[in-house]
Every structure is written in structure tokens, then in C-alpha cells.
């Protein structure tokens, strides 16, 4: 039903009032002539209202004459009349066309470039390479071939393991995955030694190839040969053979961190005062709106980009940056002994976790509190078991 109404609306129709004693006759003549009528309603003793398409209305005149009825138009409805009405308003039409054109142009241009997934490779480097390919903010979407760009980036940057180039609305999204560069490995056919990476006490030695120089319980220093690639024969006259030493040497290692136990803690809280600075921008042109100087000595700043984004996809190249400054106040808080130690321990552990290699297994943890110069210190010692073997070329002799 809705579709039929829509069709009638698009084609345009007239609401007519047929007055006369034989409106029925008028309706019959119309139907004979294949004229579709709808919404026929009796509005008076000698008056019937109905709807009829524009084209049919021309024929309705003769039907009216034949039936002896008078026909007059009550209203004209539909798109053709609307168009006729607006055709005269040239400025309006021009504006409409200009608007459509502008929207089309604005959305067919790359307005922002987003690069994700890069840790070691600088964003600037990628941007520069993109610029060389003719891709910049303001470039047309059509000029960008995502596959070509991805390939080119992969060729130019050896550290990239994968590159994805996607155009989403007016945004160019470049997602990269950086490969982990393999450590320099001595080829398996080259002879080498395994030496200690760090000091420790040997727990176990498993030599797969080469001659173990240390045994469980030995204390080793950094750089000391653990498994030698020089295998000497029991018969000295045969000399020695060079092999590519392989194996695993587990050793107990220690890590320690010293932290001062703080007597007090500084708490920073927002005072509730706030000061904003506004910047309007178009592409890279920024205009800072005058708003005075920052009145706060101690503050926390947050930047909010208020660019208009259409349906999460079309980011427009202009917008407003709001830099919010919140005033902070510092409060010193005396700490309880227990609390202070916990804090120190937490700090120390955080630091230790940074130092200790991932593959090391933590075996034991010891804490020691001592005082020097009137200050209290916390010494945290962590004992680990880890593989300390490291390849090294056989040098000199």
C-alpha cells in the first residue's frame, strides 16, 4: 500500500471534486477509459471527492461533459508540482547542487592519516614515504591504490612484517606489524663457544654439542666459557676439533634493588579549577584563540579534539582543539611504617620486573631493611634460575 502511495506521489496526482447528480456515471466512464481512481468519498449530497493521476485528468474533462458533472481541482499533490514550484528559485537549486557537489568533493579526499602498530619505526618516516608516493592530507582517495602503497611500504621498510592500508571514509588507516629482528646468530656450521651471559651459580649443564667446562655448583663470572667448542682428543697427537657448541646451562642468578622507604607521600588532587585554551585548525594551520595565560602553577593538561566526525567514518579536516588545564594541589601525607614499606616493596618489585628477563624463573625473594645516614632502606633480592648460555665465536687461539 505504501509503495502505491509513493508511486502516486512521485507521479503526481490531483484531488478533484465532482459535483452533479450523477457522479456515479462519471466514475464509470473514467473506469471504462482505464483511469485509476482512488479514495473516492462522498462529501455532499451532490458532491464526490476523489483522487486521480495528472495524466488522467486531461481525459476526465470529456468524462465530465458526458456525465453532466462539474469537475474542479481541490489540490495538486506530488513531486512534479513540487519541482515546478522550486524550479523558479534558481538560487535554491544552485545551492542544492553546490551542496551535493561539496559533500561529494569533501568526502572523496583523504583528510586524516592514521598509523597504528609501529613501535620502533617512526611515524614521521612513514609519513615522509607516503608523501613521496603522493599521499598527503588533501590527496584524493582515487589516487591511492592501497595494495601498491602497502607493497611499497613493505619494500622500503625491512622491519615491517605486515602492512595493511585501508581507506575508511576520509581516513587513511595504515596498520603495520613490526617483525622482531632476529638476534645475530652464528651459523650452525661455524664453530663457537657458549659463554656466561652473567654471573651465577651453575645448577645444571646440558651440553648437546661441545665440551662442558663447568659443572653444577660452580660459580661462574660473566664471559666465562661454559661449553667449549674446542674438543680436544684424548690422544694429544690428534690435536683438537672445532665444533658449534650447543646446550643449555641453567644457573642461579641474583638481582637486587635498593629503595628508600619513604616517610611521606605526595598526593595530587584536582582543586576543581579549570582553564581552557582553544585552538581552531584546518589541516595543519592552527590558530590559537586568545584566552590569556595559564593561571596555574601546578596543573594537569588534557587535549580534546572536537573535530566533526560523520558517522565515525568521515573526519573533516577542520575542528577545535580544547586544551583543558586542571589545577592540582599537593598534599603531603605522613605514612605509617607498614604502609611505607609496602610502597617501597612495590616500587622495588616493579623495577625488578623490568630487569629480570622474561624467561627467568623466580625461585626466591628476600627483603632486608637497613638504616644508613638516618634513612631507612629496603633491599629486595630476587633469586632466579635461567639459561645463561650465550654464543660466542672462538677467538684468537
Amino acid at each position: 500500500m505504501f509503495l502505491i502511495r509513493l508511486w502516486h506521489y512521485l507521479k503526481g496526482y490531483v484531488i478533484i471534486i465532482v459535483s452533479g447528480l450523477s457522479a456515479e456515471k462519471f466514475i464509470n466512464i473514467c473506469t471504462r477509459r482505464q483511469i485509476l481512481l482512488w479514495d473516492i468519498e462522498r462529501t455532499g449530497p451532490a458532491e464526490v471527492t476523489m483522487k486521480m493521476s495528472i495524466r488522467a485528468f486531461k481525459n476526465a474533462r470529456t468524462a465530465a461533459r458526458k456525465s453532466g458533472c462539474r469537475v474542479r481541482i481541490k489540490a495538486k499533490k506530488g513531486l512534479p508540482y513540487l519541482i515546478r514550484k522550486y524550479r523558479r528559485r534558481k538560487g535554491f537549486v544552485a545551492g542544492l547542487v553546490a551542496f551535493a557537489l561539496l559533500i561529494y568533493l569533501m568526502t572523496s579526499i583523504i583528510w586524516s592519516i592514521e598509523i597504528t602498530g609501529n613501535y620502533n619505526l617512526d611515524e614521521e618516516v612513514i609519513i615522509k614515504q607516503l608523501n613521496e608516493m603522493g599521499i598527503f592530507r588533501g590527496a584524493t582517495k582515487r589516487s591511492i591504490n592501497p595494495k601498491y602503497v602497502a607493497d611499497k611500504l613493505m619494500i622500503n621498510n625491512r622491519e615491517l612484517a605486515w602492512t595493511g592500508v585501508e581507506i575508511k571514509g576520509t581516513k587513511l588507516i595504515i596498520s603495520v606489524k613490526e617483525g622482531i629482528e632476529p638476534p645475530p646468530v652464528i651459523p650452525a656450521d661455524q664453530p663457537c663457544n657458549l659463554v656466561a651471559k652473567k654471573d651465577g651459580i651453575i645448577v645444571s649443564v646440558r651440553a648437546k654439542n661441545g665440551l662442558a667446562k663447568v659443572k653444577a655448583g660452580d660459580t661462574v663470572k660473566k664471559g666465562q666459557v661454559l661449553i667449549s667448542g674446542v674438543v680436544e682428543s684424548i690422544h694429544p697427537e690428534f690435536g683438537s676439533k672445532f665444533v658449534h657448541a650447543m646446550g643449555e646451562v641453567l644457573a642461579r642468578t641474583w638481582y637486587e634493588v635498593k629503595k628508600e622507604v619513604p616517610a611521606k607521600k605526595i598526593n595530587r588532587t584536582r582543586t576543581g579549577l579549570e582553564w581552557n585554551r582553544y585552538t581552531v585548525y584546518f589541516l595543519d594551520f592552527r590558530v590559537r584563540l586568545p584566552s590569556g595565560n595559564n593561571p596555574f602553577e601546578l596543573y594537569e593538561a588534557k587535549t580534546v579534539d572536537k573535530a566533526p566526525v560523520i558517522r565515525n567514518r568521515f573526519k573533516l579536516p577542520f575542528g577545535l582543539i580544547m586544551e583543558k588545564h586542571y589545577e592540582l594541589k599537593e598534599e603531603e601525607q605522613a605514612l605509617e611504617r607498614e604502609e611505607a614499606r609496602e610502597l617501597a616493596e612495590k616500587m622495588a618489585m616493579d623495577e625488578l620486573m623490568e630487569i629480570i628477563p622474561k624467561e627467568a624463573e623466580i625461585v626466591d625473594r628476600q627483603m632486608q631493611i637497613f638504616t644508613s645516614d638516618g634513612k631507612e632502606y629496603l633491599l629486595v633480592t630476587v633469586e632466579c634460575t635461567e639459561n645463561i648460555a650465550m654464543q660466542q665465536e672462538i677467538g684468537g687461539n
Binding site: S22, E24, I27, Q34, I40, R42
Partner: protein, 103 residues
Amino acid sequence: MRRRKTGKTPKRKKETDTVKEKVARMLEIPEEVVSDRPKITTVGRKEVFIENYRGIIEFTNEIVRINSNYGIITITGKNMKIREITNEDIIITGDIDNIDYAV
């Protein structure tokens, strides 16, 4: 083509099977396709759909009289309107009380 006169009540046919209808039945074609009998469909009390009619005789808000080959179909009710009318069918809406073949 036979020219139909409107406004006048045509002679009432006797409802006997014509040759056309007999053939249609033999070939298992739906009868209403070939016959000139009116087909009236009602949906609830709000809508009457009539196919194979010949013309309307009277149309007011309370009564609609429609001519067919087998007599005049009279529909009485309230607030009746013709929602759509073409050469073949007519849709009448409103609060319908009665549908009958008046003599």
C-alpha cells in the same frame, strides 16, 4: 467487443454453466478466470473487494450499489469509501453491515 451500457440494469442471466465454463472445469482452470461471474472477497468488516463488476449505480456513505452480470450487489454500512476503482475491480472500505443481491 460488446459495448456495455452503464446506468441501466442489464438483463439478469440465469446461473447456468456456459460452454466456456464447462471447458474450463474440464481443463481444471480456475473458473473465475473465464467466467463473468462476480467474485466478492471480504476482509473482516472493513473491506470488500469485488472483481468482475460492471459499474457502480449508486454511491453514498451509507449504501453502495454495484452492477454485475448476475444482479445488483448492494452493500450497506457506514462511512463507506471507494479506496480504489479500476476497470476490473473495486475496493470498498468502511463499517460494512450487509452485502446482498437485491432483486
